[in-house]
């Protein structure tokens, strides 16, 4: 499957896109684990918060469809999927 990186995810991954092979039945969280092994745990930690959820400002698109953040990690993938990982800067907030 093709994985595209947008925003801060690109610098974290070190590439714009790449091909990744995932086992049948894999979920988005499995993909992130695979990517963590490839790019380092720091990369995985930039996406997930260690409590089973996505960090604030992380968006995942499957075939161009924006997945609800609270459900995204449990969405099933296939090797024909195209996944976009977007990390946004934390918003400006107060002085």
């Amino acid at each position: 499957m093709k994985v595209l990186y947008l925003g801060l995810a690109r610098h974290a991954a070190g590439c714009e896109e790449e091909e990744v092979s995932v086992p049948d039945g894999s979920l988005v969280r499995d993909l992130i684990e695979i990517l963590g092994r490839r790019h380092g745990q720091k990369f995985a930690r930039s996406l997930t918060n260690g409590r089973g959820g996505l960090h604030v400002g992380v968006r995942i698109l499957l075939g161009g469809e924006d997945l609800p953040p609270e459900k995204a990690l449990d969405i099933r993938l296939s090797n024909s999927s195209e996944v976009t990982l977007l990390i946004l800067a934390r918003p400006m907030a107060g002085g």
Binding site: L6, H11, R45, L86, L88, R90, P91, G94, G95
Partner: protein, 857 residues
Amino acid sequence: MDVHGDPAALTEPDGWVRTICQGCYGQCGLKVHRENGVVTEIEGDPDFPNSWGKTCAKAKAYFMSLYDPNRVRVPLRRTNPRKEIGVDPGWEEITWEEALSTIAARMKKVRAEDPRKLLIATFDWGTMETAMLWASAFGTPNIKWHGGGYFCGNALHAVSYMTNSTFHTAIDLDYCEYAVLFGSQHGFMGGVNPNLITQKMARARARGMKVVVVDPVGTNAASKADVWLPIRPGTDGALALAMIHVLVNEEGVYDAPFLKYQTNAPYLVDKNGYYVRGGDGKPLIWDAASGVPRPYDCFSGAAALRGPEKVSIDPALTGEFQVEGVSCGPAFAKLKEAVRAYTPEKAETITTLPAAQIRETAREFGRAAKIGSTIEIDGETLPFRPAAVHAYRGAFAHKHGTHTHIAIQLLNLLVGSLFVPGGAQGSDAVGPDRSWEPVPGPDGLMVTGKIHHSSVFPPSEVAPPELLELRELFPISCSVSSAVGLSLMDHRKFGIPYDPEILFVFRANPMMSRVSPEDTGRALRNIPFVVSITREFNETAEFADIVLPDTHDLERLDMFPNRFDLLPEIDSWFWGVRQPVVKPYGQARHWGEVLLELSERADFRRDFYEILNISWKLKDGCRLDPSRPYSWAEIADCRARSAFGPDKGLEWFRANGAVTRKRTVREMYPRAFLESRFPVYFEFFLNVGKDVAKLTREMGLSWDTSDYVPVPFWKPCADYREHGRGEHLYAVNYKVPFHSLSNTSDNPWLHDLTGRHPYANKVLLHTDTARARGIHTGDLVAVESVAGKVEGRAKVTECIHPEVVGISGIFGHWAKNRPVGRRDGAHFNSLLPLNLERMDPVSAAVDSCIRVKVYRA
């Protein structure tokens, strides 16, 4: 009339134009009259939901900033490499093409090396999101060096998010009957949303609402209050804790059902302060009905409170229990015990307020809350708590400000006064049509439901810093902008793994609005290439390498500049447009257009568009096609049509102003419907503190982690002295209603108004203090701290605490090409040093009371 020599402006038809003000955070509706391409009248828009037809002096004075002959007219390049305060940059005029190609070349190099080397400083509050999305597309997370240190004081938003799940705190003035304002001028033309909230305050006062103002200075709010409590600076936390003590330990006044069923007050806590958890890791409560421990979520809190059915569980709020050999008690009991140390008599020695007054204020507040009462609105029966406290920068911009704000918010929580009629509020806990609302997070505590927010719970990860804001070391801070200045002065000390190289500054002036201009100048010098997009030649622009002319608020287009998190107490949701009334001055361009152009030239336009498509959820037919460039106006049109349908594009908004929709009862007063719990005990501080302590020790940094405790406390600011009353003077800062941040003090009309106002841009001294120093009203006086010295004209008054020197503003600007108000008045921020010792270790708020000497200059 000569409109800056721009004949194109004259082609616009005459008439009224509806737009949105940007004079402060308020986003008030304006009607602006244009004749022959010239602005001739400015009025409040009576149909605009956020300002009810009113506008203030800042908008009325737009004429002078719009037609200011000293505006930046063309792109400029620095010729003098020496960047110092007061040094002429030696500007030379260049073309836009030359400027943009120079900037884009630097950006391409940095983006290829490490995009984090680019930093943005902006405080364009309504439209900052676009800058954030642009920065994200470029690849930098460094967007936090705001210019608003003067305004909110950092410790505001983190505690607000923790306790009400929104960015701001507010009061339901439609029903409130008793309000206590701590260092706040809420409802008196200070703070956010002033035109709306001041009108609501006036109505509330007319029907008899009582207002108590706690402030060392007799501010605009204090002077209109029923009771003014002139407190010693930096001691508001002690007052709040004493009031809590009176309520819970002396009077037994607290909203027990709310605390039991909708907060973590009954969670069992062991002797080390941690929750006692069951086998599944869930915190336990003690069910007094059955005499056994149960998981905290064994009932629906909201259902239990709404009734008529009541759950059979009765969570204990007091007592000592044994759970599998562990001694424990409810969190509420820990809180009750912790505040016993803050008797009114003890608080009197700290605050200088009489114990009897403290006790009476607490009792009045408790009585006014009418605990147990209900009210029916639009067919819904809701808890009625017509008493609220509200705090702002004056209270918590101090060394231990996070805990001060927690203590103040606890007053609301203990009487059940949050998101109910008459009580304390947040800005936008529940979104339009419940598009977001707080959800239960870890341990059932509330997490804001907004997808992209800056909440602090759950806290962010403690890790070696990679962000210039050092968020990794301030994981419970929402706005860590003060830390950016600190790290920019010596980023290697904090382990930042790259060298900052480009800074974009627009609609911000850190040299004046952050503390210590000398240190801010050092920080700016450490960035090799600084680009300022600015309307006026401000103090930060004097450190820039390239200056680009920005548009005025009456020249710019912004789709949906109204952010709901900045607009508490609105009755209606609204989505509006700020539209150009006249053509831009000279060669001015909106900073957004400049960023758009730079994304094209630096080869990341496709990424930027894709991120806009995703973030704004642009629908098919409105999505930006990455293969072609769009103008700023085209993007605004796409966004409008995507949100409201093909008939409501940019032109519809230009003609009609805004889409509005009344907020429902459930959106305004959601407490009775929430399943998430409010925190009154902050257990998660413990592990965060341990993590920060471990990491900073490994990094060799001296770091105070003693504030990471789960119950609030009061500790003195660095300069506080309890004894020797009258010996020491503390300088404090306060706001006046007709100025905002640092960008209004050079407006000739506002400058004139300032000169006539008794308390604006003066050095306020108490009568006794002035007499002892031989100072009279009108004398030029010097105010000197460890960090700097400023001068201003004295105003001798009874309306200030005797130990306090009051300095308003931001005044005293010094930029060479900003002649009005130049060197006129005292610049408060010059008195404050920037260092860790004077920062709140949790929020990174800079302590803004400082010991000073005052003498005739």
